[in-house]
């Protein structure tokens, strides 16, 4: 038999029992539609999320923290004080930077010494001032201006769009670039920008006018640092964030201690002598020296973000860091894979439901084919008498069953495609409502299209095998006399 004859005969037979064929195909359609929609949704979402992570290089990164029980999600939450932990020092950063597969280390710290960001007369409470090496390991998404760069000194900062929105620049971020803002420090701030000796003198003066009061009640005038906004970053997954250069952050975290030198004491005594009231001199020595402590170097960074050469090496580098330096190290992949694993389970469950529908459909195909063969027994006898081989009869019925499966798959795909067309605009709305970039994220990948059609056709073939075999092995003599 020629290939065209198989097609022609199978089509003719399917057409002959229109209603029965339609109902059988309908069952396949239900299965194919559910498999299509469910798999498309699950894999598209998984792919979308994976792409989001891949886009910012997260998969190549390892987060290092003083706490050894760190997971990837913790790395942005700061370290807190941990006296027994291994400190993340510059020395450690250098060592990690020299490890195999490591291409860069970004030291990260959070500055908690500030209470507000002031622009003009507007004051916004600060939540986080972060600083990290501007070496490209951690990438920011800029909405306007530029990012913090390696050469930036003090007085330069970027703010996230949430701040910009609050300052009234929602649709005009670039207008905010270049503007001066003030960072208002907490009362006990002793970092860069503070004249410790002046502060000491002011406190002494306050004490002399407030006799008997506790010196700790003294409220120094709040220190403000001035900075220029150079860029607005995307707040989507960070919220209210101010970023400053690492050097400036180091200064902000410094502690200054005034120190009384021998010369200062001598000067105070000389002052007493000049007052001619020996033994009753209450002139305090005025310190002239300030000891500056680099607290960041002393306490260590809150975390390191380590960039590896390949995403596949991230887990290995994390392990090496953990084992060698006894610090916490976690790669995003391991955790994200676990999180994305839920999609695999979801896919399996939903696909399984579609699979059950397809099994039911397959039973329908078997039933239809057996009915069809019973009805066509005589016809099969005639076909055999005029020279149809067993294999030909078998192929004919198998092809017919495959065709039922094929049609079911194609119609199911079309319905599934329609569902995707309806779902995507709804999802787009959701995404843009949540400031997430991405549109039409549910796609029907070619493998899914081919896979669904192949699956339903394959199910048709499988379902057709037994009936076809039965047809092929009919005794032609009996078949010719079948009533």
């Amino acid at each position: 038999m020629r290939p065209g004859d198989y097609v022609a005969i199978a089509f003719r037979n399917i057409r002959r029992q229109k209603l029965r064929s339609a109902l059988t195909v309908f069952a396949v359609v239900i299965g194919a539609t559910s498999v299509t929609i469910m798999l498309a949704a699950v894999f598209s979402l998984k792919g979308f999320m994976t792409k989001q992570f891949e886009a910012n290089g997260t998969f190549q990164q390892v987060a290092v923290s003083p706490q050894t029980d760190i997971t990837w999600d913790d790395h942005n939450n700061g370290s807190g004080n941990c006296q027994t932990c291994v400190h993340l020092t510059d020395d450690l950063a250098t060592k990690i930077g020299a490890l195999q597969h490591v291409v860069g280390v970004a030291r990260q710290t959070q500055v908690g010494q500030f209470q507000a960001l002031q622009y003009g007369t507007q004051k916004l409470r600060t939540q986080q001032i972060v600083a990290y090496d501007a070496n490209g390991v951690i990438k920011d998404t800029l909405l306007a201006g530029r990012d913090i760069q390696a050469g930036d000194g003090d007085g330069v900062l970027t703010i996230s769009s949430d701040y910009a929105d609050k300052l009234g620049f929602k649709h005009n971020y670039s207008a905010l670039v270049g503007k001066q803002v003030q960072l208002i420090a907490q009362g006990w701030y002793s970092g860069v920008g503070v004249d410790a000796i002046q502060q000491f003198k002011a406190q002494m003066a306050w004490s002399s006018t407030h006799p008997g009061e506790d010196g700790r009640d003294y409220q120094p005038a709040p220190v403000t640092l001035s900075g220029k906004i150079v860029g607005i970053t995307d707040a989507t997954d960070q919220g209210y964030v101010i970023r400053v250069p690492l050097g400036w952050a180091r200064g902000m975290q410094e502690s200054q201690m005034v120190q009384v030198t021998q010369a200062d004491q001598d000067a105070a005594q000389a002052k007493c002598r000049n007052q001619h009231t020996p033994g009753n001199c209450n002139s305090q020595p005025v310190p002239s020296q300030v000891v500056v402590t680099d607290e960041l170097a002393k306490q260590g960074y809150s975390s390191f973000i380590v960039k590896t050469d390949e995403a596949s090496n991230a887990a290995g580098v994390a392990k090496t860091i953990r084992n060698t330096y006894k610090v916490g190290a976690a790669d995003a992949q391991t955790q994200i894979k676990q999180q994305l694993g839920i999609f695999n389970i979801l896919g399996a469950v939903l696909g399984g439901i579609g699979g059950i529908a397809l099994v039911v459909a397959a039973v329908g195909v078997v039933n239809t084919m057996i009915m069809s063969i019973l009805e066509r027994t005589r016809e099969i006898g005639v076909m055999r008498a005029v020279g149809a081989r067993r294999g030909t009869v078998s192929a004919l019925f198998t092809f017919e069953a495959a065709l039922l499966g094929f049609f079911g798959g194609v119609i199911g795909l079309l319905i599934g495609y329609g569902a995707v067309l309806i779902a995507n605009p709804i999802i787009n709305k959701q995404l843009s409502g949540n400031n997430i970039s991405g549109s039409n994220i549910i796609t029907l990948p070619i493998w899914l299209i081919l896979g669904v059609v192949a699956l339903t056709t394959g199910i048709g073939i499988l379902a057709g095998l037994y009936p076809a075999r039965r047809a092929a092995h009919l005794d032609p003599v009996e078949a010719l006399h079948y009533e």
Partner: protein
């Protein structure tokens, strides 16, 4: 004349529970090419079994069947099917036409299995229908044709592959005597053109028209 069909010690046994039934018992017979043979016998005598074995629809339990020198008793389904397709034209008592298809399509069926090209197939089928006097009924379905016409379509179908043998099982059994006569005339004409004609019948008036009568009883040849 060359031997078209040669049966040697052909036995066909059916098992019905514990009972063993010899439908054919050591049958020896030769049918020459171009002969017109009638196989007769009472029902249950084994004449249909004999016809089925000659037609390649059935295989003997023992013994050999040779058609044009080729032994059919041990070949596989594939060769047997091809043999039926190329050498045998079947005509049945109840016509066995496909009700949903036209006369032309019915006649084309054997040609489908011989892989003839669709155009040639159509031309050949038309030729055969014209030969049986149905050149004006090509697009008719069996339900639109009379009994005699239906059997003509069946004969045209048997002729389609230009077989050497036409095997007709009670071809006039479902027809009135006038239509039966017409069909017999048609078959005899084909025989005159050189086709070996084997008719299975219990109608002696038909058997008498044959060149030779093979009579069978209880699975054995009583005359032949």
């Amino acid at each position: 004349m060359a031997a078209a069909i040669e049966l040697k010690n052909v036995t066909k046994t059916y098992r019905l529970g514990d009972e063993v039934l010899n439908a054919l018992d050591e049958v020896n017979c030769t049918i020459n090419s171009g002969e017109f043979v009638a196989i007769t016998g009472p029902s249950g005598s084994g004449k249909s079994t004999l016809a089925n074995i000659i037609g390649g629809l059935d295989k003997p339990t023992s013994g050999s069947v040779a058609i044009d020198g080729t032994d059919l008793s041990h070949v596989r389904d594939r060769q047997l099917s091809d043999y039926r397709n190329k050498h045998i034209g079947f005509v049945f008592q109840s016509f066995n036409l496909q009700g949903t298809q036209t006369a032309l399509e019915n006649v084309m069926l054997p040609l489908v299995f011989s892989r003839m090209k669709p155009k040639a197939r159509k031309a050949r089928a038309q030729e055969c229908l014209e030969a049986v006097g149905l050149g004006d009924r090509l697009k008719h379905k069996p339900s639109q044709l009379s009994g005699g016409q239906r059997q003509r379509v069946a004969i045209a179908r048997a002729l389609a592959v230009q077989p050497g043998i036409i095997l007709a099982d009670e071809p006039t059994g479902n027809l009135d005597s006038a239509r039966g006569e017409e069909i017999m005339k048609l078959l005899k004409d084909l025989n005159k053109q050189g086709i070996t004609l084997i008719i299975i019948t219990h109608d002696m008036s038909i058997a008498r028209q044959a060149g030779r009568v093979i009579q069978i009883k209880d699975g054995k040849l009583v005359r032949g």
